[in-house]
Each structure stands twice: as structure tokens, then as C-alpha cells.
């Protein structure tokens, strides 16, 4: 698979256009890491004896790990996402996934089920809204293919007429409390919270990336909107890989998995170091 990096978009930290050699090296680095990522879940799944009496535990924890790998993988192979406008949105999503995972890991049997039931309730609420909208539009929800499909999907897991809808948080506590209980409050403070500012389009992000102060003294330092051609920062790859690695290490602890090999993250760091030495150091 080739990764198409547009020269107009792909710049390094110092805003210099990438050379062809650098682009090829980055392609190789990304390909190498992606290959490593693809083997992470199979080697873990295949090492376990699956206990179907605890089906939900495997479904939820492996599902969360698969989500984290997917986010990391797609992020790594999409350089257009490595800007400060987009990267934190995805990285925050990974941080959120990690905190949920870490909290569930403290009581896997009970919290896995809770996580599923909450999710099914949200699905039910969503299609109840759709049914309501169809009625308001003068239609018949019973004839709507999407409603039918969603209802059948939900019923295959739990009957809709038995599904509760929870409009609070799924865990019953705030994400901050979850992070505290899951021993990852630092991660919450230094990763989740600052990236939330970007994901929620808060003032801190807007003033840095979407507004610029008028240089005319007559304008009372008025901030005016601007659409920047954002730079990409390849160090964001390392962040995504780090958040995935954090989850993998916790995952291996929960299932007592011991793999006698260097982690995918460590392998990436080694390769990244080579890339860095060759292309980034001299650029300041």
C-alpha cells in the first residue's frame, strides 16, 4: 500500500517541504508500524482460552482494544490528520477509550455488562428519536427500513421493550472520577483535558488556531477569523502509538498475557529515532 503525501501539505516541524527521500523513509516507517499493529490483537486473542461464561468481558475489552488499534492505525496512515486542528480530536478519543478501558479493568465482570447495557440504551434512544421524527414528518416508522434494521439489531442483543435508557454517564460517575478510580488521573489532567479543549472547540483552541489579532492598532486588538494551512507534526504519530501502548500494557495485565518480544511501540521508537536522526535533527 502506498501512502500519498502531498508535498504542499506534508511539512516537517520547521515548515520545510519534505524531500522525496524523507517522504519515502516516512512511508517505510509508517508501513512498518502498521504491519506491527495488525498483529497485536490476533497474537493476544490466540494466546487465551476463551471462557464463554464471561463472553461480555472478552467482547468489551477486545472491542475497546480493537477500537484503539483502529484509531491509531488510521491516524498513522493519514498525514492530513497530523495537524493541531485534527490530531487532538483523535488523540482525545483515544484517551477517552483508554480511561473507559482502565475503569472497566478494575471490575471487568460487572462493568463490561454495564458498558453494553448503556450502549444498547443509547441505540434505543436514538431510534426512538428517529421514529418520533418520522411521525412528525407524517410518515410511518414501521415502514422505515432504518428503523426496522436498528430495531432488529437491538433485539438481537436485548429486546427493546426490556432495554433501559440511561441519560446520565454510562459509569454513573464523571470521567474524572473514573480516571481517579482507575489510577490514571495524570493521563486525564495532561492528555484528556487539554485535548478536550480542541474536541469541544473551546476558546483556548479557537484563539490559537482559528483567530488572529489584527495588526492594526486602530482595531483594539480585535481577533479576526483565519483559516490556516496547518502544519502537520509527525510527532503526533508517537503520541497515538503511546496511547495505544498504554492500553496494550494494561490489557496484558488484565488477561495475564506475557509475550516475549519487544512491543510494537518500542519497535516504532527505534525506527522513529533513526528517521529523526536522519531527517529532523539537522533541521533544528
Amino acid at each position: 500500500m502506498d501512502y500519498i503525501f502531498l508535498e504542499s501539505e506534508l511539512r516537517n516541524r520547521t515548515d520545510s517541504i519534505m524531500t522525496k527521500e524523507m517522504k519515502n523513509a516516512l512511508n517505510s516507517l509508517v508501513k512498518y508500524y502498521i504491519q506491527e499493529l495488525r498483529s497485536q490483537i490476533p497474537k493476544r486473542w490466540n494466546s487465551l482460552i476463551i471462557d464463554l461464561a464471561k463472553k461480555e468481558v472478552y467482547e468489551v475489552l477486545f472491542g475497546q482494544l480493537a477500537r484503539q488499534v483502529t484509531l491509531c492505525l488510521q491516524f498513522v496512515k493519514n498525514p492530513n490528520c497530523w495537524t493541531f486542528d485534527l490530531a487532538p480530536v483523535i488523540l482525545r478519543c483515544m484517551a477517552d477509550n483508554y480511561i473507559n478501558f482502565a475503569w472497566i479493568a478494575k471490575d471487568v465482570d460487572d462493568r463490561s455488562k454495564k458498558f453494553i447495557l448503556y450502549g444498547l440504551g443509547q441505540e434505543k434512544l436514538s431510534f426512538e428519536h428517529r421514529k418520533d421524527q418520522i411521525i412528525k414528518d407524517g410518515g410511518d416508522p414501521n415502514k422505515d427500513p432504518l428503523v426496522k434494521y436498528n430495531e432488529a439489531w437491538l433485539n438481537s442483543q436485548r429486546y427493546t421493550f426490556l432495554t433501559e435508557v440511561n441519560i446520565g454517564s454510562w459509569s454513573g460517575i464523571s470521567i474524572r472520577q473514573m480516571a481517579e478510580e482507575a489510577d490514571c488521573i495524570d493521563f486525564y489532567n495532561y492528555v484528556y483535558t487539554p485535548f478536550s479543549s480542541v474536541a469541544h472547540n473551546m476558546w483556548g483552541h479557537l484563539t490559537r488556531y482559528n483567530l488572529v489579532v489584527s495588526d492594526n492598532p486602530l482595531h483594539k486588538n480585535l481577533k479576526i477569523p483565519v483559516i490556516n494551512e496547518s502544519f502537520i507534526d509527525i510527532y503526533n504519530i508517537k503520541l497515538a502509538a503511546m496511547y495505544l501502548d498504554k492500553m496494550i500494557r494494561l490489557f496484558d495485565g488484565v488477561f495475564k498475557i506475557k509475550l516475549d518480544e519487544k512491543s510494537a511501540y518500542d519497535k516504532l521508537l527505534s525506527e522513529f529515532k533513526k528517521f529523526e536522526n536522519q531527517f529532523l535533527k539537522n533541521n533544528g
Binding site: W45, N46, A53, E128, F161, L162, N166, G168
Partner: protein
């Protein structure tokens, strides 16, 4: 976001639900002591034996065999467990002692039903060596199956239909449970209920009456698995699913 949800819900959405804090409970969960049964977790492993008999001998003969066997076993099980459907639930058979097992075998032999019973459960025993029914073939002296693999694809096909609670096969099995409970006078249907006759299930799902009776059966099956009378952590249901997985584990 929550303000928006509250507003939306104050109009129409979920207005039949009972609100408890941030949770909207569906009406059925607020009626009496309704307990939801996880069909795949409990009913499939516990009732699979009835489907095996029906698959092997057809609905008529298989149902007669299932009823006779359940009625014979019921005499030994009913005093051991506070669940009226005990003899229809395979895990209950773990409660039998050696002499009771021999007596059941003798009684089935007298009724000339032992041989077909043994035949039907031969490959079942092979798949599940620790099945509560293994005693049926244990005393037979006949050679155990060396491999149940040839029957496995047939078994998987049957199991696949049974996973769907609303399938024809599942409905027939449920009708067998109801028939057993009616025979033992542990289930009563009042005249006022206007419920179609049980035999209407044979036409499922092609007639309205068959759909009504199937729906009734599906809702009634919950009483067999009420945690007050049924051990939801019993060995068989865990063993059944893990044994299935072990036969064909998923390798990624």
C-alpha cells in the same frame, strides 16, 4: 446535551417509561417480578436435548419420547429441586444418584424407549463427555462413538436454528416444555385467556394462532429460569458453551 434530552423526552419519546433519576425503565420491567431470560445463556443449553430428539425422530415421535423421558425422570427430580420444570432442564439430572439413574434406565427400557433415547444422545455424549445425560449410554455396554465429527455439521445446523428464539424449532421445543408442565399440572391456562390450542404451534409461523401461542410460550419460559428456582451459575451451562468453543475455537 442532557437538557436537550430532557426536553425531547418530556414530549413523546419514552413517555411510557418510568423515570428513576437518569434512567428510563421500560413498562415491562416495572410489572411484578418480571425477570428476563437470556435465551442463549440458559434456555439453549438446558433445552437442547428436546431439539435433539425432535430432529432425530420428527416432531411427533420426538415429542412423545421427550415427554415420556421427562415424566419418568420427574419422579426422581421433583423432590430435589424447587422448580416445576426441573425434568425438562438438563442440568437438573446432575442431582440424580447412581441408583436413581439405573432405575430411570430400567423404566425407559420397560417402555421400550431406551434404545431410541440412547441412539439420539450418542454423539451428544461424545461432544459433551460430562453431560448430565452421559449416564444413558454409560451402562449400555455399547461402544461409544469414536468421533462425533461427522455429526457435527448436522448438530451445528440444528444449534444455529435454536439460537433464534423465534424459529420454528425453538417454538416446538417451547411447546414441549409447556406440554410437560400441563401434563404434570404445573401450568394452567384459564378458559378466559382465549389462548389457541397448543397443537396450533405446528403451523408456526404461518397462522395468527400459531404466532399467538409462540409468543405466549416465549414469555412463559422465563419462569423456568427465575433465579429463585434456577441456578444461573450451574456447571452445565458454562460447560456446554465452553465445550462448543473448544471444538472449534476462533483463531485470528
Amino acid at each position: 446535551m442532557f437538557k436537550f434530552l430532557k426536553l425531547a423526552m418530556s414530549n413523546k419519546i419514552l413517555d411510557d417509561h418510568k423515570r428513576k433519576g437518569k434512567i428510563f425503565q421500560p413498562p415491562l420491567l416495572n410489572v411484578g417480578t418480571f425477570v428476563e431470560t437470556a435465551w442463549i445463556d440458559y434456555a439453549v443449553p438446558e433445552f437442547i436435548w428436546i431439539l435433539i430428539l425432535i430432529t432425530e425422530y420428527g416432531v411427533d415421535k420426538g415429542s412423545v419420547l421427550a415427554l415420556e423421558f421427562a415424566c419418568v425422570a420427574d419422579d426422581y427430580l421433583i423432590s430435589k429441586i424447587d422448580n416445576g420444570s426441573a425434568a425438562a432442564i438438563i442440568s437438573s439430572f446432575y442431582l440424580l444418584n447412581a441408583s436413581e439413574k439405573v432405575e430411570i434406565i430400567e423404566k425407559m427400557k420397560e417402555k421400550k424407549l431406551l434404545a431410541p433415547l440412547r441412539h439420539a444422545f450418542k454423539y451428544f455424549d461424545h461432544i459433551y463427555p460430562e453431560s448430565p445425560f452421559s449416564f444413558l449410554n454409560e451402562y449400555s455396554g455399547s461402544e461409544k462413538l469414536k468421533s462425533g465429527r461427522s455429526n457435527l455439521s448436522k448438530y451445528k445446523l440444528m444449534l444455529n436454528k435454536f439460537l433464534d428464539k423465534t424459529s420454528y424449532e425453538s417454538s416446538i421445543v417451547l411447546a414441549n416444555i409447556a406440554n410437560f408442565l400441563l401434563t404434570k399440572e404445573r401450568l394452567f391456562v384459564t378458559q378466559e385467556s382465549n389462548l389457541p390450542a397448543l397443537k396450533e404451534i405446528l403451523d408456526y409461523p404461518n397462522t395468527e394462532n400459531s404466532k399467538r401461542i409462540a409468543s405466549f410460550l416465549r414469555s412463559s419460559v422465563n419462569m423456568c429460569f427465575n433465579p429463585d428456582v434456577y441456578n444461573r451459575g450451574n456447571f452445565w451451562i458454562t460447560y456446554f458453551w465452553n465445550q462448543n468453543y473448544e471444538i472449534e475455537p476462533i483463531q485470528l
